[in-house]
Symmetry: C2
Subunit: 236 residues, 2 copies
């Protein structure tokens, strides 16, 4: 596939948010003397993300950085699990757990391999620029550029986010590849004129989650990031 | 020095614009059958940059990406040296010479060393995001983030550019270090509340340029980028 740049979703596609967030909940909740099914709380928190994001894109709520949106949905998730005892500082610490997630094992070597090609790489996430820079540094994920929906003061799947990436990287949308494990992200990128690559992450929602088929209509399906790098011309 | 992030000027501080631009002029001008003192043409081009930038910051010209500003000042420089014969495609190719400059020899190892510390690193240049991502990738300059004055639709030394960097990286201005070889860049950063580090680049204007003393009032003077990295806590 002949593209000039590839932009990557981060939460789910490159990093394991579920174990990182469940671990932070268990740690902070446990120290507060609380007990819960922490992975289930993490799932609830994540499931409240898309509806909250749609309230912003629909104009019901003003745009805010992802951390502030995460705080809103955390409050909802904790209330739903009877965990109201956590205080503001503990909740802020939980929001920051999203800044230090572990990468999937193939992500860092795959990005290093992609770095050997002429394809420019960037994040394209709803996370903020600063949190993404910290996360990718700490996780050892090498990118040529950090791009965030924050720069368009919006969120994916707003088409303006994908087109902003093409504009800032100075590539035509059809020569820009969106890489994600989420079909809705790829569908929105394709609708904005980008090319799309799907990487399955069957463990995103834990080992017991139902398997899903690769989405139809993507330009490329790769097993992992090194496979994607090879499809984009890397040798190794 | 205790800072959370360091942002770097690129043209001059990390890369040798003069030899790169003079080389491109000699190459493209030579192929067009022209003769000139190419380093002197490069110097003229660069000298026209600051006045053009001030016309934009003063409101006389609308903001435009650095490439477009470089095209304007190239036209002026070529006219001044009797080189009007170069056509539009040749001029555009010359503008792109700024995207593939060579780094100073200490820059890449110094940034690798800085990468081992907890200090977040980013560019902070008047160059565009895409050109900066290409330049840093090609020159092997590792950054955690690419920041450009383009994101504020302005240019350094506008204080909004420095404050935008602090805001996007989510650090307090006083915990953000501006690194440059240009005293005016550092003075403007300091006025915006940032900390400042000066790295001398005595060869920026060629081997015959007059030596200048380090500016007064900066927080740190380092011999080179590895020296800066060690001053920020790197061991090596």
């Amino acid at each position: 596939m002949d593209v000039d740049a590839a932009v990557f979703d981060v939460f789910g596609t490159l990093t394991d948010w579920r174990s990182g967030v469940a671990g932070a909940l268990a740690d902070i909740g446990g120290r507060a003397g609380l007990e819960a099914d922490w992975p289930a709380v993490a799932d609830t928190w994540r499931r409240r993300y898309r509806p909250a994001l749609e309230r912003v894109l629909g104009g019901e709520l003003p745009w805010r950085p992802l951390d502030a949106l995460h705080r809103l949905t955390l409050d909802e998730a904790l209330a739903g699990h009877g965990l109201d005892a956590l205080d503001g500082a503990e909740r802020d610490a939980l929001v920051r757990a999203w800044h230090r997630l572990r990468p999937w094992p193939d992500a860092a070597p795959g990005l290093e391999l992609l770095h050997t090609t002429r394809v420019l790489t960037a994040t394209l996430s709803n996370g903020g620029v600063g949190p993404l820079a910290r996360l990718t540094k700490q996780a050892g994920l090498r990118f040529d550029c950090v791009l965030s929906a924050e720069l368009a003061r919006s969120y994916k799947p707003d088409p303006r986010v994908y087109l902003m990436a093409a504009e800032l990287l100075e590539v035509e949308p059809r020569r820009l590849l969106m890489v994600a494990c989420h079909p809705d992200d790829l569908e929105a990128a394709a609708a904005a004129g980008l090319r799309t690559a799907y990487i399955p992450r069957p463990l995103e929602w834990g080992p017991d989650a139902a398997r899903v088929a690769p989405p139809a209509g993507v330009d490329l399906v790769a097993d992992d990031v090194p496979g994607l790098a090879r499809a984009l011309g890397a040798t190794g």
